[in-house]
């Protein structure tokens, strides 16, 4: 276990370094820089050059890169180029909204897709193809709808026509009711895409397990189908499902960027979009670093959760 943790930590460093490097150079490959984005057409060339020199943007790229690495090593993530606010503070301020959306989506997805997938698998196992086909078919349709499109449809229907959920407005952590109303639609939209994948994985995984000998053993001991399904089959089918839940967090990091933008929510996805638009190198680099860390930590947590479901997993 200890050796395993060390190994994972070493992997984490390599991954993070790779991500940091990639982002650093790709950001600088995009035409334009923070100064030109900030200035627009108002300032002359000479003034801009002077500002660039002040910010160290005229130094050789490699030197800038090394300086950047040095500052991260000292956990100094700097200030935004435009507003000069500390970036860490901005991220911490935006984080609760994104976390609410992400966790809400995962919960909603798991609550719907696992029973649905299990039901489909059970029906397929018993030869009831009709219900199985309906569930898997519906999952496929959901899967094929892009979330930017479903977002707009939901906005149109639930916010503009029905008026159930506000489409914009203040979001404050002090008012959970308000927060909930604002994040409901994004959560629903994101879940729709996740439910499809997860229901299908659950179905495949449970269906496979239902044909295993130990499931027959459980039946031969006189257990009801419900207990066989949830105590024996689902627990054995859990590993692929846990993997997908872990991976879907990665997809969610993408998804939150889109829904936060469309539903104008002040989460870190919106920070990222803003940062890219203003070529705020420091902001984008730090955010991507942050995303990468979340991803690595979730992968690590997924591996630990394996052990809970399957005692055969050794580290």
């Amino acid at each position: 276990m200890l050796t395993y943790s060390f190994k994972r930590l070493a992997q984490l460093f390599v991954t993070i370094l790779g991500v940091v490097t990639l982002v650093f150079f790709t950001m600088r490959m995009i035409p334009g820089d923070p100064i030109s984005a900030m200035a627009g057409d108002n300032l002359s060339g000479a003034a801009l050059d002077q500002m660039r020199e002040q910010m160290g943007l005229t130094e050789p790229l490699l030197l800038q890169y090394l300086k950047y690495l040095g500052s991260i090593a000292m956990l100094d993530f700097g200030n935004t180029v435009t507003t000069k606010l500390p970036i860490v503070q901005l991220i911490l301020g935006a984080l609760p909204v994104t976390v609410t959306i992400a966790v809400g989506t995962i919960l909603l997805t798991v609550l719907i897709s696992i029973p649905l997938g299990t039901l489909a698998a059970y029906m397929a196992h018993k030869g009831n193809r009709a219900l199985d086909n309906i569930i898997t078919g519906a999952a496929m349709v959901l899967d094929l709808m892009p979330s930017f499109w479903t977002s707009l449809v939901c906005l149109l229907v639930f916010s503009l026509v029905l008026g159930w959920f506000p489409a914009s407005g203040m979001v404050s952590l002090d008012d959970p009711g308000q927060l909930l109303r604002r994040v409901t639609l994004p959560i629903v939209v994101l879940s729709m895409a996740q439910i499809a994948t997860m229901a299908r994985i659950t179905r495949t995984s449970v269906l496979e397990v239902l044909n295993e000998d130990y499931v027959r053993t459980a039946r031969s001991m006189g257990w009801s189908e419900l207990r066989v399904l949830f105590r024996h089959a689902l627990k054995n089918a859990a590993l692929p499902i846990v993997t997908v839940v872990g991976l879907s967090f990665g997809n969610l990091l993408n998804g939150t960027v889109i829904v936060e933008f469309i539903f104008t929510l002040p989460g870190i996805g919106n920070l990222l979009v803003g940062g890219i638009n203003s070529r705020d190198y420091q902001m984008v680099q730090t955010l991507i670093l942050f995303y990468a860390m979340i991803f690595v930590v979730i992968n690590f947590a997924t591996d630990l959760i394996y052990r809970v479901f399957d005692p055969r997993v050794q580290f």
């Binding site: 196992h125 030869g127 000998d213 130990y214 027959r216 031969s220 006189g222 189908e225 055969r312």
Partner: protein, 664 residues
């Protein structure tokens, strides 16, 4: 027959009020391509405490029948009609909820594969205790104590601690013991055992069978025992039912069936088994053809196409079970079955085809193969599995060497080393000419997208043998040699039966005229009747081509039939080596003695006379071999000297080597 033992008398009286009464059971599998009538009108009775064996080849419907009793069939299987009366209640009329009171309670079930029949992610206690609480209506503490005492009774050491373990921490034999404990823990009146020992080694099989017999006798539990091993039937059963094409074709007391089989199928089945302890060897009986397609309605007797005694009536009407003696019934129009057409005086097989004049084609000297694991800490010695630990063997031209031993003894590793598939750690292998291999599972050793002509011709192409036309001739010749005609050249492996595939595998192995063919469990995946065909084929080839065979198997009867010499392996070493007949008649090493004692022989009278003290314990881990004799931990004769000093393989006689201090 006339003098009944007390037990038999008790059984006879008990049978009058039968525990289970199955009447006209029909089970169908509704597949996309048609309805498979797997069980087609089966009726029988089982008395209290009676052990009934159901035998038959794969596809005969024996497992489907057993699973039908408790409605444990997987989709698309369905019990279509019939009565299953247990103590006067018809299980077939019960709802799932009512049946769940019977399952695991009044009727326990033991399945074939212990490795997959226990839930891998659940503790043993969580699998055993809740059913006991439910069926016996007792508290958790009492149920736990009950479960522990059952584990103790089935021979799980340190049961109180092991009950909190997981199945993956146990060996196959141990898991099957847990399975038995589970099945018996709710005090059932009947246990259904579906091939409970097929996946186990012969010594472990003997332990499990003995355990099942003792426990069911102690508790008065009746038992249905599904098997394809007629030797086990002779050892274990009171009554036998023989199934063919979804029907019982013969049913009766075990001694009666073995002494006077009256259905042609039963007669043929018994004749396909290599006989034990016969001075000369005769060709084994073969059952020609294939079982009928169960999707197509059978007109007349289902066995008629494969029966030497079939006549007009057999093609018109199906015979019903009719009496052949007290409690003995058979479904055949002819009272004597095959009668004179029975395979009793088949032609003799010349026993030994090589002699000391013949050149040695394989010489193995002090061969070692160690698999070195990876150690986490660099300074620690990595774990090493000594799979082959210093063996020396030689094979003459035309000789067949049988290699036997429990799984994990290193016999397959020797085969791989002999073929050069793995490099040896140390030692010498000398092969005159070429070695070729026949694998256990022919289906997975062929490329499914290749025609048979390409499969057989592949070694020829690889070595650049002859022209295209010459290769074609050679392939035709090989097909003829293994008993297939030219028409098979254009077929694909999926179009063949298991036996035909194994014939093709042998043809491929013979393509380059090797001096030795290594066959690793070549008959284990085959049904008894097909097994006899392959054994006969190998015996013929041995004589015609004078090719040497290394025959690796855990099936001692087959090995003893086909081999000239035999090497008994234990934990990577040869413990006894000699002429087959001598070794079987007079084994000198305690392990050989135990192995031979463990093999059930298909003769209930002889089985009754044998001592059944199965070898205790299991194969120790090859990771840390003991200092002295590797067998000392299981040997009844072991002394401190054995544990300290390793016995070397020494010559007891000119034709026998044994590695035991006390052999003489």
């Amino acid at each position: 027959m006339n003098a009944l033992s007390p037990l038999e008398r008790k059984l006879a009286s008990a049978a009058q009020t039968s525990l289970l009464d199955v009447r006209d059971l029909h089970t169908h599998f509704l597949t996309d391509t048609g309805t498979v009538k797997a069980v087609n009108g089966v009726s029988f009775q089982i008395g209290r405490g009676e052990r009934v064996a159901i035998v038959g080849e794969s596809g005969s419907g024996k497992s489907a029948m057993a699973m039908s009793l408790l409605r444990l069939l997987a989709y698309p299987g369905k019990v279509v009609s019939g009565q299953i009366n247990l103590d006067g209640r018809d299980l077939n009329q019960m709802s799932e909820r009512q049946l769940n009171q019977i399952r695991g309670g009044e009727v326990g079930t033991i399945f074939q594969d212990p490795m997959s029949s226990l839930d891998p992610v659940m503790k043993i206690s969580n699998q055993m205790v809740p059913p006991i609480m439910r069926h016996l209506r007792i508290s958790r503490e009492k149920a736990l104590a009950e479960a522990i005492s059952w584990l103790d009774r089935v021979g799980i050491p340190d049961a109180a601690r092991r009950i909190d373990g997981y199945p993956f921490e146990m060996s196959g034999g141990m898991r099957q013991r847990v399975m038995i404990a589970m099945a018996l823990s709710c005090k059932p009146q009947l246990v259904i055992a579906d091939e409970p020992t097929t996946a186990l080694d012969v010594t472990i099989q003997a332990q499990i069978v003995e355990l099942l017999r003792e426990l069911t006798e102690e508790t008065g539990t009746a038992m249905i025992f599904i098997t394809h091993d007629l030797g086990l039937v002779a050892r274990f059963a009171h009554k036998v039912g023989v199934m063919y094409a979804g029907k019982l074709v013969e049913f009766g007391p075990v001694k009666d069936i073995f002494a006077h089989p009256s259905h042609p199928y039963t007669q043929s089945l018994l004749d396909t088994i290599p006989p034990v302890d016969q001075p000369e060897r005769r060709r084994l009986a073969q059952i020609p053809g294939f079982p009928p397609d169960m999707k197509v309605p059978v007109v007349g007797c289902a066995f008629k196409e494969r029966c030497a005694a079939a006549h007009k009536q057999c093609f018109e009407t199906a015979p019903k079970l009719s009496s052949r003696g007290p409690g003995h019934t058979a479904a055949c129009w002819r009272p004597e079955g095959l009668g004179t057409a029975r395979h009793l005086n088949a032609e003799l097989v010349p026993s030994m085809v090589s002699n000391t004049e013949d050149p040695v084609v394989v010489e193995i000297f002090n061969l070692h193969k160690h698999f070195v694991g990876r150690s986490v800490l660099p300074w620690r010695v990595p774990p090493t599995v000594r799979a082959v630990n210093g063996i020396s063997l030689s094979i003459r031209k035309g000789e067949t060497l049988g290699v036997v031993g429990e799984s994990g003894c290193g016999k397959s590793t020797v085969a791989r080393l002999l073929l050069g598939l793995d490099p040896a750690t140390s030692g010498d292998i000398y092969v005159e000419g070429m070695a070729q291999m026949v694998f256990q599972d022919p289906a997975s050793s062929f490329n499914p997208k290749m025609k048979l002509s390409d499969i057989i011709g592949e070694p020829l192409v690889v070595t650049g043998w002859g022209t295209r036309a010459e290769r074609g001739d050679r392939i035709r010749e090989l097909l003829t040699q293994v008993g297939l005609d030219e028409g098979y050249m254009q077929r694909y492996p999926s179009q063949l039966s298991g036996g035909q595939r194994q014939r093709v595998a042998i043809a491929r192995a013979l393509a380059l005229k090797p001096s030795v063919v290594v066959a690793d469990e070549p008959t284990s995946a085959l049904d008894v009747s097909v097994r006899a065909q392959i054994i006969n084929l190998m015996v013929d080839l041995k004589h015609q081509l004078r090719v040497s065979f290394v025959f690796i198997s855990h099936d001692l009867l087959t090995v003893s039939y086909i081999s000239d010499r035999i090497a008994v392996m234990y934990l990577g070493e040869v413990v006894e080596y000699g002429l087959t007949d001598e070794v079987f008649r007079n084994p000198t090493h305690p392990y050989t003695q135990a192995l031979i004692a463990a093999v059930p022989i298909p003769d209930p009278v002889a089985e009754e006379a044998r001592t059944k003290k199965p070898l205790s314990g299991e194969l120790p881990s090859p990771l840390n071999l003991p200092l002295g004799c590797a067998f000392a931990s299981r040997c009844p004769k072991a002394t401190d000297y054995c544990r300290a000093e390793k016995p070397a393989l020494r010559a007891l006689s000119p034709t026998r080597d044994t590695a035991c201090h006390y052999a003489n």
